[in-house]
């Protein structure tokens, strides 16, 4: 198990350009947007600046959505297409373990990306660290698990490694929008926010931002994210094909 984890991590790093999208892009956007757009660093009505919680939360969401909707489906469908999973099923080790290792590695990349965003926001913009750290970590893990489950469903449905990123993009961009990437949830029209409330990405981003700002996330938001994890996790288990 350790050997597989170390090896898969090494293979992941050999494809280092993916790290540009999962770590480099969110971090770069945080710095570029925060430093170049004046409104990002101006206090709003509540006295809170965009760079304090909104922008880093959105960049965290960007990193996690890229991992789950793009990287995970691409890797797993390629493994299936090339017969890597099937070859493993001829050995005493079930290919589910390879899948578990991939999810773990992507979770770690997500954690690294989020940590860098927190540190960069604090160091460069003087943003506060997450006000409810324990809640923040729990929300982060729950939401990341739910998004990875969506990624597994994409991997289950995509016919091959070439179509997986396309299907992933079709899922990813609406989720980014509903998560509040372009229009923050506070200023979304009511109808759009109502849809956002059930989009997994929307309540996840909101709960994460609340915990960052030192508030308690709404239970309803956490329930939607948890339900997403159960539903998409269950779908992934039922739909996933090893060959």
């Amino acid at each position: 198990m350790t050997k597989m984890l170390v090896l898969e991590a090494r293979l992941y790093l050999r494809d280092w350009p993916t790290l540009l999208f999962t770590i480099g892009l969110p971090l770069g956007l945080l710095l570029v947007l925060g430093l170049s757009i004046p409104v990002m660093t101006q206090a709003g009505e509540s006295g809170e600046r965009m760079v304090d919680a909104q922008l880093p939360t959105m960049m965290t969401l960007l990193a996690l959505l890229t991992l789950s909707c793009n990287i995970v489906p691409a890797v797993l469908t390629t493994y299936r297409e090339r017969g890597v999973l099937r070859r493993m099923s001829t050995t005493p080790v079930h290919p589910a373990r390879l899948l578990g290792v991939q999810l773990l590695i992507n979770l770690v990349v997500g954690v690294v990306s989020a940590t860098l965003l927190i540190v960069a926001a604090a160091v460069v913009f003087g943003a506060p660290l997450p006000g409810r750290p324990v809640v923040f970590v729990l929300v982060f893990l729950l939401g990341t698990a739910a998004l990875l489950a969506i990624g597994l469903v994409i991997a289950a449905l995509a016919p091959n490694g070439k179509t997986a990123p396309g299907i992933g993009a079709v899922v990813m961009f609406p989720l980014m929008f509903l998560g509040g990437m372009w229009v923050p949830r506070d200023i979304m029209p009511d109808a759009v926010r109502a849809v956002s409330d059930f989009s997994v990405a929307g309540p996840f981003a909101q709960a994460l931002k609340d915990a960052w700002a030192g508030q308690s996330p709404e239970l309803g938001h956490l329930a939607v994210v948890a339900a997403g994890l159960v539903i998409f996790g269950g779908l992934a288990v039922r739909l996933f094909r090893w060959e």
Binding site: K3, M4, L7, R10, L11, R14, D15, Y79, R82, G83, V84, R86, R87, M88, S89, T90, T91, P92, V93
Partner: protein, 301 residues
């Protein structure tokens, strides 16, 4: 002692019956071939043996294990090289061997295995940089790394150039010499003839015959053809007088003699007595292709 026993195997897919009724036994230490045209059900049969598919009927036993009930046990005694299974592009040969060795309780020394399959110079080469033949040899090494008692090799040499194919055949013979029983799936007659101790001819999901390669060709009959260009005119009667000769025909200056038994030596000896030298001498006897045709009414390829 038999190590594999398959009885009345049946496997149906939604739209067609892949395997209708297949039975065979494989003795420990032999190279057992499964020969048949594409789509005959060869791969489905061995996938059931390897526990990758669940049969709809019949029984399978490998080293006394039922693939359905004891998957884990089966995977420790049976190694399989799949027809089309690749590895991640950027994994190196030694990384793949090391990883697969870690899957087994008592693995082989993988660096020795790499040497045996002739890949010791490619240890640090990534999978995507290996040639077709090198990939197949790595595939064989991965199938052997768990020290299996049985190795199933599915279409091992398909897509390889003639030299790589010969190298791979040699490897298979070496593996058998090390005591591993081999089940070889192929649609190449030449491969089956060269490697297999016994083989099953499979057609449309059924076993047409099981025998040694020479036993199978003998079933077609013992008929042979000897063709040559005589250095001087030869009288048909001289040849027809030989008990082994059944018929003599001519096309141009070429003589075609058909018959049986010790045909070629008898004919050349008779010619020698007339001081005639047979130029362009060729001997043709029945092949597995002919056997397959005679048994099923279909050509192998």
């Amino acid at each position: 002692m038999k190590i594999i026993e398959v009885r009345n195997l049946r496997k149906q897919y939604p739209n067609h019956v892949a395997v209708e009724d297949v039975s065979f036994e494989v003795a420990e230490g032999e190279i057992f071939g499964i020969l048949g045209p594409n789509g005959a059900g060869k791969t489905t049969t061995v996938e059931c043996v390897a526990g990758l598919r669940v049969p709809d009927g019949g029984t399978v036993q490998v080293a006394g294990l039922d693939p359905r009930r004891d998957r884990a046990g089966l995977r420790r005694v049976l190694g399989m090289q799949l027809q089309t299974a690749e590895l991640p592009e950027k994994i190196t040969v030694s990384e793949a061997m090391d990883l697969y060795a870690s899957f087994y309780p008592n693995p082989a020394d993988w660096s020795e295995l790499i040497e045996r399959v002739g890949l010791s110079g490619k240890r640090d080469t990534m999978f995507k940089k290996l040639s077709g033949g090198q990939r197949q040899r790595l595939s064989v090494a991965l199938a052997l790394v768990g020290r299996p008692r049985v190795a199933v090799l599915d279409e091992l040499t398909t897509g390889l150039d003639p030299q790589a194919r010969r190298d791979t055949w040699e490897l298979v013979e070496q593996v058998r010499a090390s005591g591993v029983t081999i089940v070889l799936v192929t649609h190449f007659m030449e491969e089956a003839e060269r490697l297999c101790d016994r083989l099953a001819l499979i057609d449309v999901g059924k076993v047409a015959a099981i025998d040694t390669p020479s036993g199978l060709t003998a079933q077609v009959g013992d008929e042979q053809r000897v063709t040559f260009r005589p250095s001087a005119p030869v009288d048909d009667a001289v040849l027809l007088a030989l008990p082994e000769v059944r018929d003599v025909t001519r096309s141009g200056d070429q003589v075609v003699v058909t018959g049986s038994g010790n045909l070629a030596p008898t004919v050349t000896l008779a010619l020698a007595r007339q001081q005639i030298v047979p130029g362009d001498l060729r001997i043709e006897r029945a092949t597995l292709d002919d056997a397959f045709l005679a048994l099923t009414g279909r050509k192998l390829s």
